[in-house]
Symmetry: C2
Subunit: 254 residues, 2 copies
């Protein structure tokens, strides 16, 4: 069964392009931990060391393991021990790289947000409305297929009221959506798109696509063996395309 293409099948691993600093802008006192009690050279701002090879490698391993564990059990449901085990190291060792459990989570979340905003950003105002919307849906669906763990991590955060990213949601995400809503509105004015609420339109794309990652068990269980296999994403793509473009009103008999 050759994987009927939905589109490119991205590597299910990397969430961001290698050095995903994003917010690691913090002087990252990573393995530097708290400096010794009596600071030798007085008030020197603790020269931010450049991060060794091992540090970079191990941090990536830990973040990957944490994504695995957090996305499956939630923050409070996950233990450092679990993450350490998946990462193949001891708990104190892991704590050496991320002194706090929360710190791991924070890093994951900030990387996540960027990845999450990207697809919408790609929607071009100067493109064809249907092509743009269609591509956006595809991209989101591919993300649900290829990065289900990120999707679940995000969903989990939302369910909890987005405590860690609420401000980014209110500022960055809102700004982006406002901008794209404007684009949609323009298309509608030009008669290229049916006139509806652009915000809810975007919500419905989010909802329908993420559903295939977040509610995957349900989807597979309901579809059953026959249709719940690999092909379900293409079926979904086809269906969603139809829904958004034509709705459920039947074509007048030819």
């Amino acid at each position: 069964m050759a994987p009927r293409k939905l589109n490119s099948r991205a590597s299910p691993k990397a969430i961001a392009p290698a050095s995903s600093k994003v917010i690691a802008a913090e002087p990252s006192p990573s393995p530097a931990k708290r400096q010794h009690k009596a600071d030798a050279k007085a008030a020197v701002p603790a020269k931010a060391r450049p991060l060794t090879r091992i540090q970079r490698e191990k941090q990536d391993i830990i973040l990957e393991a944490a994504l695995e564990v957090f996305s499956a059990h939630g923050f409070r449901g996950s233990t450092i021990d679990q993450i350490a085990e998946v990462a193949g190291m001891s708990k104190p060792n892991l704590l050496y790289y991320f002194p706090k459990k929360e710190e791991i989570h924070r890093r994951l979340m900030s990387e996540l947000l960027v990845t999450w905003l990207a697809p919408l950003q790609e929607m071009r105002a100067d493109g064809d409305p249907f092509v743009e919307i269609r591509s956006y849906i595809r991209r989101k669906l591919e993300m649900a297929r290829d990065f289900p763990r990120q999707s679940r991590l995000f969903a989990n955060e939302m369910l909890r009221g987005a405590p860690h990213i609420i401000d980014m949601i209110e500022v960055d995400l809102k700004a982006l959506v406002d901008e794209k809503a404007q684009v949609l509105l323009t298309w509608m004015d030009e008669g290229k798109l049916a006139r509806t609420d652009p915000y809810h339109l975007i919500f419905s794309i989010w909802a329908t696509t993420q559903h295939y990652a977040d509610f995957d068990v349900q989807v597979r269980a309901v579809l059953g063996k026959a249709r719940g296999g690999e092909g379900r994403f293409e079926d979904a793509a086809r269906y969603l395309e139809h829904l958004f473009l034509h709705g459920l009103t039947p074509k007048p008999r030819a």
Copy 2:
């Protein structure tokens, strides 16, 4: 500001019609706990006591409190102490009614499933396709508005892979969806409905409606003060109706 109606505004409390036994069919050794070591009257199946008034009341109070806490923090993120506090009793006292934390959760989940299946069950094969689908969407949206905690509890369970209700999903839910998919298919055959995948159609209704409960923070943040108020559900209803009935293809100029 009078609540622009979406429909009836049900009482946000009760999740199931009073005596929601559902699965409480178990001889419920509730406060009877495990019987004493040396059972007096030998192998008598421990006469299932009829449940006192206090027992019924307290159990309801506990379940309500547990719903509040579990839906907000997840199973592992919630402590018995928290639930006990919300329920206004001491931890050991709560444990007297539900000897295990898991037991509370189990009860909540089985009640939940029934509530969750109900709206779809109401979709009548002998009704008008559009009326039926439209009503179904409204009902689901009302549930998202009036019972967001149940929705989040459900979403949480799904995210975790539905460990507690997977079999009900695979059997009962699947059977129900199979049945309704058949109904949809018939409508399509009769040309009353555009021909698409009935399963994914149902998924998309679930996804779009639940989104307003599960991702409520995001929805409100993105809509902003101006449009994120009470009216958002009616806007959503209007939009979804349009989406499902007409899609995004603009009407040919009149």
